[in-house]
C-alpha cells in the first residue's frame, strides 16, 4: 500500500538511478541514519559500545569487504583474518611512528596497505579458481599470522609479542585507549561504516561492479564481451582488501586495544566473516549488515537469556550457543541459500503487491 513505486514520479535521470528508488525505502534509510547518528550517541554507554555496537559496526565493514570479493566477484577467500591482521599491524606501526597524525588518516592508510597486500595475494586468482583459490588464500592467512608472530619489528620488539593501542585522537577527541568515550569510538566506526557502505553500494551499481558480476557469473563469457579479467579481479581484491584493512585497524585500535595475532586474527576469524557473508546473503550490501548483526548479537542474546534470565550454568549456555548457531547455519543454507538478504527481498516483493497479491 505504502511500499510501491506507483505515484512516486521521477522527473530526472538522477532521480531515476538513485540507490533507493522507492520512497518508503528512502525514508527508512534516512530514519536509520538519523537514529544511528543523532540518537544512539547520546544514549550509548560502555557496555553497549564495547559489547554490541562496535563489534557489529566493525564486522559489518569486514563483511562488506569480503562480500565484494566473494559475493560480487566470485573469488572465494579464506584469508580475511590475515588481511584484518595486516590492517591492524599497519595501523599500529603508523600510530606508534606518527603519534601526532589523526586516527582517520591512520585507518585509511592501513586500509590502503591492506589493499596492496591483498592484491599481491590476489595475483594467483588470474590462474586458479574455486577451491584452489580458497587454498591459496588460506595460505595467505597462515603466512600472515606466522609473519606477525615471527618478525619482532611488527610488534615493536615488545616482550609479549602483543600490540597495544596507545591513546590517539582525531580533532582533539580521544578515539583509542581506555579513556576514549563510548560515543566517540562508536561515531568513529559508524562514519567509516557509512562511507564504506556508500562506496560499496555505488561501486557495485556502476561499471566496476558490473564487470565483477560478469566475472562471477561466467569468466570466459565476460572476457569475450570485453571485460578485462586482470583488471576486474585485481580491483575486487583491492577494494575488498581496503575495507577489510579498515575493519582490522578499527578492530585492533578502537575495539580491543590489545591484540595477539594468533588469537584475534586466526583462521576462525576468516570463517566467522565468511559465515556472516553467507548467512547474510552473497552479493548484497544489506546482507553484510544482516549477517554481521546476526552473528554478533546472537551470542549476546543467548547469554542474556540463558545466564541472566534463566540462570543456567555458563558452560551449558556456551555449549548451547555452539549448537544453536550451527543449527541455524544449516537451516538457513537449506531453507534460504541466498541468505537473509533474500528474505528481505521476498518481503519487499510481497509488500509491493499487498494487499492485492493477484
Amino acid at each position: 500500500m505504502f511500499y510501491r513505486e506507483a505515484g512516486d514520479f521521477k522527473v530526472s535521470y538522477a532521480d531515476d538511478s538513485q540507490t533507493f528508488p522507492i520512497k518508503f525505502d528512502r525514508y527508512r534509510y534516512y530514519a536509520v541514519l538519523a537514529v544511528a547518528f543523532g540518537i544512539i550517541p547520546f544514549l550509548i554507554n560502555d557496555y553497549w559500545a564495547n559489547a554490541i555496537l562496535l563489534p557489529f559496526l566493525i564486522y559489518s565493514i569486514a563483511a562488506i569487504g569480503l562480500n565484494i570479493l566473494v559475493g560480487y566477484c566470485g573469488q572465494v577467500s579464506l584469508g580475511t583474518g590475515g588481511f584484518m591482521a595486516v590492517g591492524a599491524y599497519a595501523c599500529y606501526k603508523l600510530m606508534t611512528a606518527f603519534p601526532e597524525v589523526s586516527m582517520f588518516i591512520h585507518v585509511i592508510l592501513a586500509g590502503g596497505i591492506t589493499a596492496f597486500v591483498c592484491v599481491l595475494f590476489g595475483l594467483p586468482s588470474l590462474r586458479i579458481k574455486g577451491f584452489y583459490l580458497a587454498v591459496a588464500t588460506l595460505a595467505a592467512q597462515f603466512f600472515l599470522v606466522w609473519l606477525f608472530n615471527r618478525v619482532p619489528w611488527f610488534y615493536n620488539y615488545s616482550a609479549s609479542g602483543q600490540i597495544n593501542a596507545p591513546e590517539r585522537d582525531t580533532l582533539g577527541i580521544i578515539i583509542t585507549g581506555p579513556n576514549a568515550p563510548a560515543w566517540a569510538t562508536y561515531l568513529f566506526c559508524l562514519i567509516f561504516l557509512t562511507v564504506c557502505a556508500l562506496i560499496a553500494r555505488n561501486l557495485t551499481r556502476g561499471t566496476v561492479g558490473r564487470t565483477w558480476m560478469a566475472i562471477r557469473d561466467m569468466d570466459i563469457a565476460a572476457e569475450i564481451i570485453g571485460v578485462n579479467p586482470l583488471k576486474a579481479k585485481l580491483t575486487a581484491f583491492a577494494v575488498s582488501g581496503f575495507f577489510i584493512g579498515i575493519s582490522g585497524a578499527l578492530f585492533f585500535a578502537v575495539y580491543l586495544g590489545a591484540v595477539e595475532v594468533g588469537e584475534a586474527f586466526g583462521i576462525s576469524k576468516s570463517f566467522l566473516v565468511l559465515f556472516m557473508v553467507i548467512l547474510g546473503g552473497l552479493g548484497s550490501i544489506f546482507g553484510s549488515f544482516a549477517g554481521a548483526a546476526f552473528l554478533v548479537l546472537l551470542p549476546v542474546i543467548l547469554k542474556v537469556v540463558g545466564v541472566d534470565l534463566l540462570s543456567w550454568p555458563t558452560d551449558i549456555v556456551a555449549h548451547f550457543q555452539l549448537v544453536i548457531v550451527g543449527a541455524l547455519i544449516i537451516v538457513f543454507l537449506i531453507a534460504e541459500p541466498h541468505g537473509m538478504a533474500q528474505l528481505w527481498r521476498v518481503a519487499k516483493e510481497k509488500l509491493r503487491l499487498w494487499p492485492f497479491p493477484h
Partner: protein, 427 residues
Amino acid sequence: MKKTLTTLALGAAMAAGPAMADLVFPDLSYRTGPYAAGGIPFSDGYNDYFTLLNERDGGIGGVKAKVVECETGYNTEKGVECYESTKGQGALIYQPLSTGITYQLIPKVTADNIPLHTMGYGRTSAANGEVFSHVFNYPANYWNGASGVVNYLLEENGGDLSGKKIALVYHNSAYGKEPIRTLEELSKKHGFELVALPVDHPGQEQKSQWLQIRRDRPDYVVMWGWGVMNQVAIQEAANIRFPMENFIGVWWSGAEHDVMPAGAKADGYKAVTFHNVGRDFPVFDDIQKYVVDAGKAAGAGDQVGNVLYNRGMYAAMLAAEAAKTAQEIHGTADITAAMMRDGMEALVIDEAKMEALGMPNFGPTFNVSCENHGGPGLVGVTQWDADSKTWSLISDFKPSDTEVIGKLIEEDSAAYASENNIEPRCN
C-alpha cells in the same frame, strides 16, 4: 536494520539490572574450549570459597559475597564483553585467568578504577606498583617462576649449569613468550644454552617440536603450556622417552588433568608452584561440610583438592582478605572497587592469618605495598607420582633471582610508563 534496533533496545532493558548490595566478585571463567580443563577447577575453587564464606561466616564483614560468572572461553573478545557486562554490577576485582585478557584489561581497569589481580600470570612488570596502580600479581609472577626453575636446576647440578642445554616449549602467545626474556638473561648469567620452541594455539600439534627435542637432546625441557597443550606435550615426551624428572612445567602446566592422560609414563614429571598442594588443610573440612555436603559446590563438585582448585580457592581467599582489609581501612562493610584497591595495596598475609583461615603453610607470608604489587616471589617444586596419583612438594618455597628480575621489571614497566605517559606514584 530496524529489527536489529528493536532487539538492541530489548537487550538494554534486560542488561540494566538493579543495584546489588552484595560484594560482587566477577569470575571470568572458561568451562568450554581447549583451555576448559584448567578453567573448570580454578573457577570451582573460586566459587566454592565464596560459598563457604557466605555459608559459614555470613559473608565478608557481614555482607554476602556474590560471584557473577561469565564464560570467556579464553577468548579476548568475549572477555571484553564479560568485563563490560559485569563492571556495571559493582564489580570489586577482576581475575580473568588469561594473560591475553589481562593485557586487554590493564588500561581499562585503570581508567575505571577497579583493581585487577593476576596471580601468577598476566603482565609480569605489573609487580611495579609505581607504574601499575590498579594491577596486582602477588604472590608470584612468571619471571619468578622462570628463575625458580633455573634455581632448582642449579641446585640439582651443584650450582653450575654451564654447557647444559635447556629447551623451552612454550605456548605461542603473550603468555608463553613472557618468560623468554628472563630465561635469556639467566642463560647469559649461568652459561646454559636456551632453545625456544613455540607451539601454536591450541597446542594439539607438537610432533615437530618434540622431534627437534629428540634430535637436539637437551638436558632439560621447561614448559610454558596451558590447556590441552600440556597433556599433548607430556604424552609426546613419554613417546620419545624423554626422562620425566628432567621435564619441568610452570605452575600452569602442573595439574592432575595434565599428567593423567599419559598414565604411568608421566611418573616423575615436575612443575613449579607458589602455593601448597593436596587437601591436607583444615579449610577443606569446612568446604566439605558447608559446601560440598550441602550440595552447593560449583560445577560438578569433583575437583576439590586438585592443584588448580586449590589455586582458585587461594585466589578467592586473597580477594576476600583484601576486601576485609578494605573494610577495616574505610570503616564500612559495603566497600567499592576503589576501596578494594586500597585494601589490596595494604594487604598483609602472615602466619597467624593463614592459621586462622585453616590454611597453615598453604602459601607464603607477604605484605603488599604501594611500590611492590608482586609479593615475595617464592617458588617451590612439585612432582607427580603416577602410582598414588598425587602431586607432592619436593622442594620448599625459595626466593628467586630478584637481581635479574628486578632489573627487567624496572625496564619493562618504564617502557609501559613512557608509552602511556604515566607518572610514577608512591612518593
